[in-house]
Symmetry: C2
Subunit: 129 residues, 2 copies
Amino acid sequence: MAKSPLTQFSRRERQIMDVLFKRGRATAAEIQAGLPDPPGYSAVRALLRVLEDKGAVRHEQDGPRYAYRPTVARESARRSAIHHLLHTFFDDSPEQAVAALLDQSAADLSDADLDRLAALIEKARKAGA
Amino acid sequence: MAKSPLTQFSRRERQIMDVLFKRGRATAAEIQAGLPDPPGYSAVRALLRVLEDKGAVRHEQDGPRYAYRPTVARESARRSAIHHLLHTFFDDSPEQAVAALLDQSAADLSDADLDRLAALIEKARKAGA
DNA sequence: AGCAATATGCTAAATTCTTAGCACCACCGA
DNA sequence: TCGGTGGTGCTAAGAATTTAGCATATTGCT
């Protein structure tokens, strides 16, 4: 298996990627603030340099400082994450996964949300058939 | 926040947990086989001992060898995984997540699957309202 | 019984991750 | 113009992870 853009991350690296995926873009200080049990600022900088080396992250000048972004689009990171979730916990069964997701968050979904989801299912039906 | 049963895992530890969650239960050799870029057998054993120390895993005698299991139920590991996925990639929006999931795997779903999902949505509607 | 094969437990070494510290540059206000 | 503030790059040490090696059981054959 060739090395995917999602190389293996260390713990801290992963935490940083999580922050970046969540925020889309952040400065070193923001990342530091977003990390659980935040390390020193230098540590964050060093990690970012490593991640940039690995090609997982790139920076752009944002006024006086750097702003970092993941290089892989959020989209494709999402896809991988979903794929991994399915594979590890749901025997590659999207149906089970959707069921779990609905079950777990039924309370947070409004009727309108549910309508939209129902519509999506209809759409899937047409596409699949 | 108290230290949850899901302590921070190192890279290898996580890989091992993934294998265990996927299989439910496995011997050291099976785990080794399931690992990406598998290390030596001793390495796997050592890791398992560490994980057992951390309380993430326990073993039971299975004939001449040990069989390992995660201590947290697959259920609750699932929940955490979903939660993390939602938080990192979907702004805590289950609706977006379900949408992505459907979109990504529409092709793999049969009409019957879709029927079941539609039924689940109906159920959620009743529960939520 | 004796031997090969396959477990396990432990430990020490190699590797990798994580961190802090220091040197330097640019901007801003006194 | 001269600090002070807040950014950057680098590097080296400390901590943790990851690994292999070796000693010791236990099982199953012959």
